[in-house]
Amino acid sequence: MSAALTPPLAPKRDRQLVLVALFGAVFVVGLPVANALGFVSDYYLNLFAKYLALAILALGMDLIWGYTGILSLGQAIFFGMGAYSIGMHMMLESSGKGVYGEPVPDFMIWNQVYQLPFFWKPYKYAVVAVASAILLPALFATVIGLLTFRRRLRGTYFAILTQAIAFAVWLMVNRNEMKLGGTNGLTDFKSILGFSLSSPVTLRALYVATAALLVGALLISRAIVRSKTGLVLEAIRDNERRLEFLGYNAAGFKIFVFAVSAALAGLAGLLYAPQVGIITPSQVGVLPSLEIVIWVAFGGRGTLWGALLGAISVNWLRSVLTGTYPRLWPIILGGLFMAVIMLFPTGLVGLAARARALVGRRRTGGPAAVAAPVEEHTA
């Protein structure tokens, strides 16, 4: 009797995979090849690497917020963990010899710290740095989740909670006593895994890694979202209490998605730091966390593509505007946020959907259906 039921989901899938393939072709293959051939400058490639890394960050945010409806204002903390992890490793790789013969970063010497603090030592090994960049945020998120999700802390209160944690972490990281570089952060990276960071080949390789990992993250996120787990997450967003009466232990799902989003954020940080060359406390805190929210909402939350679009477009716009209108850019950008959201509350993706509808394509219940319910739901 299945034939009597109308299948709503089937055609969308093929279209989406094509999009992913297209995205991969352009960004993982196309751009770096163009760079190798000289059509795209190293500068632009590096800039795009930054955008793509931030897109991974946005993806995690979309999972926890766009799909599950949990507003986390602490994603920047996880990002920072990833960035600082690899940053510490790179600093150790490129710093001089200290008193005890082991490399000690310059900023510590300036602060009269001549011995490497114990928590820095494991970061000598790249494996530790990479693993901790991804696993440590996931662990931290799991702990927070265990402490809060089981007590059904939700809505604004989780947002405020994560905001408070972000604020506290930011305050601490700024202190010199934490031996993380204080307000100046970690910078002056010379090489990674033995490859010089000033060589265009290394940067290109890092770019490709970033783009490839973004595609990977996208595929994983899609897999989650398209499975029954994704359905449950959306149900959590829409009516968690009702879901519990159906027999689901929502807490477990929330912890899962929170940990995944944290791991993605950590991965983003891991890729960001070597390519941008610096990580400071100003990227770890409440304000950067809010900016991530802006990217995802601007792009259109709950669609995954919206997160990518939002992250890349906002950051790209910002770069362009700061260059051309150094004095006016916040006004332009702020105005843009206001205009887009007022006119297209479902973000850029909603804009695209509406444009398509105008062009006369038949509404299959795909993106529009996804966009519509999102409108109904509160933050």
Binding site: M1, S2, A4, L5, T6, P7, P8, L9, A10, I224, R226, S227, K228, T229, G230, L231, V232, E234, A235, D238, N239, R241, R242, L243, E244, F245, L246, G247, Y248, N249, A250, G252, F253, F256, G365, A369, A372, P373, V374, E376, H377
Partner: protein, 260 residues
């Protein structure tokens, strides 16, 4: 009273909301073989509160609640109670309006543990129980429609379908006919009769609409009348309606529609 071999055993249940006693020393037993129990009473009698306690939404001051002799329902989380087989339907339809009928059903069906959801897909394959249940409530043709677009009555049936596909042992229906038109109510009665006939689950039903009640109770099902937090009278519908105390309680608050 002994709790042996009962489906639901409620003893001396007391619920207080800041001093106001919503339930006072309530005693109620549903036997294993009892298929339908009707719960009626004036507004504020405590009917919905009883359901709240049974599903873990409200914590009582005192009392015991045993399900199937052995399972203590008090102190368990709502999702655990649902997994034990006590399923509730709310007064207002609470489907997931942003998702399709099918997706609503998918959420309700199958295993609820995290690991099993990760592997399961959202598409259509192999979901005969869902299809069968949708047919039972007559919504098979609407599977692809967004639930928010259904009429009120259709939403109620969808919700019933969602409950059925969970294979409940005890179904708690809170005013299933509320807000329905006459034809819709008749269909609901048929759906309920179908449930009673085809599955082995028991149903406890809160209703205000006396005609609806009479249709169901006419099959010889027991009626419990709640008043001010405690059981006022219990028995067949005729007996209960003849009970002076019941008449007074209802008259005191207005005539019961359709009463003799």
């Amino acid at each position: 009273m002994s709790s042996a071999d009962t489906l639901l055993y409620v003893e001396s249940l007391t619920v207080s909301f800041d001093g106001f006693l919503a339930l006072r020393n309530l005693n109620l037993i549903i036997e294993r073989d009892e298929r339908v129990r009707l719960l009626i009473g004036p507004n504020g009698a405590g009917k919905t509160t009883l359901f709240d306690v049974l599903t873990g939404h409200v914590t009582p001051e005192s009392g015991r609640v045993l399900f199937r002799d052995t399972v203590n329902l008090l102190g368990q989380a709502p999702h655990e109670i649902a997994n034990v087989g006590v399923i509730r339907k709310f007064q207002t339809p609470s489907v997931f309006p942003g998702h399709t009928v099918f997706e609503n059903m998918l959420l309700s069906a199958g295993r609820k543990r995290f690991a099993s959801t990760l592997g399961a897909g959202r598409s259509f394959r192999g979901h005969d129980p869902i299809v069968a249940t949708l047919e039972q409530v007559g919504l098979a043709g609407r599977a692809g429609d967004v639930a928010g677009a259904l009429s009120h009555g259709e939403k109620q049936w969808l919700e019933i379908a969602m409950l059925l596909v969970q294979e409940p042992t005890l179904l708690l229906l809170d005013e299933p006919a509320a807000g329905m038109t006459r034809p819709e109510k008749e269909r609901t009665v048929k759906v309920l009769e179908g449930i009673v006939a085809r599955s082995s689950c028991s149903v406890m039903l809160i209703e205000h609409d006396m005609e609806f009640v009479r249709h169901i109770a006419g099959r010889g099902h027991k009626v419990t009348v709640l008043h001010e937090g405690t059981v006022l009278s219990e028995g067949s519908l005729e007996r209960v309606q003849a009970d002076e105390r019941v008449v007074e309680a209802y008259l005191g608050r207005g005539k019961v529609r359709g009463a003799a």
